[in-house]
């Protein structure tokens, strides 16, 4: 697999498109900033959210059992899955039990993580992603490039072309209103003919056993309420203790994600519908391992708002696909190395460590600190992204020897004066490839200081 840096370099070849991508996401970040100013107690809410999650993680086993008990009393069927395979097998067994061949699915990063669509496809089950952005990328056979805005990397012309081919819209049509209307009709038919609906879960309430799903399009509800069987796939870290805690999280989530004061629909699913079946699948898939890592367990607080992506200068200018992980951007870069260090070890380096991700995170995850800590682990593991040890060693001895360093400085300044402007000859190092070095000063501070001392 190609590293993030290499993929990002390819992404950046189309400069206009990179600028456009950057600007689109920056606009979302600005909307978030405005929405945040409307709540004077914003910083307190972040603190409360972080503490509620810390508390829940410290008693996760007890809360999961309370949740299961309450959900079972509500009439839901609760399943436990240790990994992606078990999760997918459970979904398939539910589908088979009902002889279902068609399932509508609303946005769920967990099912992306489990590669559920490919699995069901292999078992001849038709899966229809019902969120517009998800449907677009599903028809293109691409993974989402953002967790909240899955098709943010695509231009309306490309979507128009795709819809012309798949949904028979007019050739050359690019008006978002027209294309959305076409998708509405296409998806309504799917909602009516599917036998099972699956959703992700934003919050599971231990006290009541209900699951809460937040959407803007209403697609999750159309699916769940029109089909006899509903399945909710939920990562075990999605739990919160009390229903009243939702006040904190619903105030934080949409403002952080898109700058809306709340998502259009915040659905509380408690009991199955009359003659219907409600399944909740609790999924581990590496989360309990992450829980055991004191430096990284805070990443489990994530509520998947995507604010860290929208603000990240690297994400905005490299695109979600450059990360090659289900969850891209800063949060993905601290979640995935724990799953596969060799494969994702390069991701903690896709950051300037500017800390903006940490500043906007609604649950106060120390994202940039964790990125830094992952870098130490990657370097110790001897992976190539850990940096050039020989070069670093040479630099270290150079810096530790003042006289040698002084002579090296003089030499460097001379060389820089010989090659003013863009020092192409330095492009063998990654740092100087895209940067101009500063104009070389006439003398070093040390020389200047020595002169001053003499003059006195």
């Amino acid at each position: 697999m190609m590293s993030h840096a290499k993929k990002a370099a390819i992404f950046n070849k189309d400069e206009a498109r990179t600028d456009w991508h950057d600007a689109s996401l920056w606009m979302v970040r600005k909307k978030r900033d405005f929405a945040v100013t409307e709540i004077p107690e914003w910083e307190f809410l972040r603190e409360f959210a972080s503490d509620i999650k810390s508390h829940t993680l410290s008693k996760l086993d007890e809360y999961l059992e309370s949740f299961e008990k309450a959900a079972t009393q509500n009439g839901a069927i609760v399943h436990w899955a240790t990994d992606a395979k078990e999760h997918n097998d459970i979904v398939l067994s539910i589908l088979n039990k009902h002889h279902a061949k068609k399932m509508v699915k609303s946005k769920s990063m967990l099912t992306e993580e489990c590669h559920l669509n490919d699995f069901l496809d292999a078992h001849k089950i038709e899966v229809i992603d019902s969120d517009l952005g998800e449907r677009i990328i599903q028809l293109l056979d691409e993974p989402p490039s953002h967790i909240v805005l899955p098709a943010i990397h695509l231009k309306k012309e490309e979507i128009g072309e795709l819809f012309h081919k798949e949904l028979h819209t007019e050739k050359g049509a690019t008006d978002p209103q027209y294309l959305t209307e076409a998708a509405r009709h296409h998806l309504r038919e799917k909602f009516h003919t599917a036998q099972v609906a699956l959703t992700g879960v934003n919050f599971g309430i231990a006290e009541t056993g209900e699951v809460v799903v937040c959407t803007n399009e209403g697609n999750a509800d159309m699916g769940v309420h029109l089909t006899p069987v509903q399945i909710h796939s939920m990562g075990i870290e999605k739990l919160i203790p009390r229903r009243s805690d939702l006040a904190v999280f619903t105030r934080l989530l949409a403002r952080s994600a898109t700058g809306q004061p709340i998502t259009v629909f915040t659905s509380h699913h408690r009991k199955p519908k009359i003659e219907g079946e409600m399944h909740i699948i609790l999924v581990d898939n590496g989360r309990t391992t992450q829980l055991g890592k004191p430096d990284f367990r805070n990443s489990l607080k994530c509520i998947r708002c995507g604010a860290c992506m929208n603000t990240c200068p690297i994400y905005r200018r490299s695109g979600g696909h450059s990360y090659e992980s289900t969850i891209p951007g800063p949060i993905g870069s601290i979640l995935t190395p724990g799953i596969d260090l060799k494969k994702y070890g390069n991701l903690p380096f896709a950051s300037t460590l500017c800390g903006s991700c940490t500043d906007v995170c609604p649950v106060k995850i120390d994202i940039h600190d964790q990125l830094y800590k992952w870098r130490q682990i990657v370097s110790e593991a001897g992976l190539p992204e850990g940096g050039n040890k020989t070069l670093m060693g040479m630099l270290g001895s150079g810096l530790a020897a003042p006289r040698f360093f002084h002579r090296l400085g003089n030499l460097g300044r001379k060389i820089l004066r010989l090659f003013p402007g863009n020092e192409k000859f330095l492009s063998f190092t990654i740092w100087t490839r895209e940067r101009n070095l500063p104009k070389a000063p006439v003398e070093s501070f040390r020389d200047w200081y020595a002169k001053q001392a003499k003059n006195e």
């Binding site: 606009m27 979302v28 709540i39 004077p40 809410l45 503490d51 509620i52 810390s54 508390h55 993680l57 410290s58 008693k59 086993d61 999961l64 059992e65 436990w80 899955a81 240790t82 078990e86 969120d131 517009l132 805005l149 943010i152 695509l154 309306k156 978002p176 959305t180 309504r188 909602f191 006290e207 009541t208 803007n216 399009e217 209403g218 697609n219 509800d221 159309m222 309420h225 029109l226 075990i236 203790p241 229903r243 009243s244 805690d245 006040a247 619903t250 898109t258 809306q260 004061p261 709340i262 998502t263 259009v264 629909f265 659905s267 509380h268 408690r270 009991k271 581990d284 309990t288 829980l291």
Partner: protein, 193 residues
């Protein structure tokens, strides 16, 4: 070992030290006029707002907003000249032009309106499947924030409940806002005294 037992035992082995559950205060809005804020936020989110001095006049407001409607359905007992819930089959309600339901409570800070299965006449899909949604909300029910909302709602055993804060919408194509994605194309909120 079952998957449940294995997950729980791994959590027991790996979980952090106890951390207290914070007592979250019921934050209130600093806005002096809740009703004004509620209307402002609703309109900002693409909803329309109407007013009546008596609930019996709801139909007149609906008629003025949707003169061309064909199929109008209502779960409110006092709106006599509208279609009522006659089937428990959710698909039966495809093709509803306007559905009129009562909202339990409105939240000023985000324009969200709480509604449960009861107000939907037992048809959970109704507020989503209808082309246009009308929610009748009493001014007396307005609260400032989500904290007040959850305090007021409490935790009764509602089978299904949802906060609705506007018409269904999407910005998935180049971040252009389109009102009317998979759910209702418009939301009209009618405020009653």
């Amino acid at each position: 070992m079952s998957s449940k037992a294995s997950i729980l035992s791994k959590i027991k082995a790996n979980k952090p030290n106890p951390w207290p559950l914070p007592d979250v205060p019921v934050f209130q809005t600093s806005a002096p006029d809740k009703k004004k804020l509620f209307i402002q936020i609703l309109e900002r989110g693409g909803s329309k707002v109407g007013y009546v001095d008596h609930i019996t006049k709801v139909v007149d407001v609906v008629a003025s907003f949707f003169p061309d409607r064909l199929r109008t359905l209502s779960t409110l007992p006092y709106l006599e000249d509208t279609e009522k819930i006659t089937s428990l089959e959710p698909k039966f309600y495809e093709g509803t032009d306007v559905a009129i339901v009562e909202g339990v409570l409105g939240v000023a800070e985000n324009g969200a309106i709480w509604i449960t299965e009861k107000e939907m006449g037992g048809i959970r899909v109704l507020p989503f499947i209808t082309q246009h949604l009308v929610m009748v909300v009493s001014e007396k029910s307005l609260v400032g924030t989500m904290h007040e909302a959850y305090k007021s709602i409490g935790s009764p055993n509602t089978d299904f409940g949802v906060f609705i804060a506007g018409p269904s919408k999407t910005a998935d194509i180049e971040q252009s806002l389109v009102i009317g994605a998979q759910g209702a194309r418009s939301l009209l909120v009618i405020l009653t005294p």
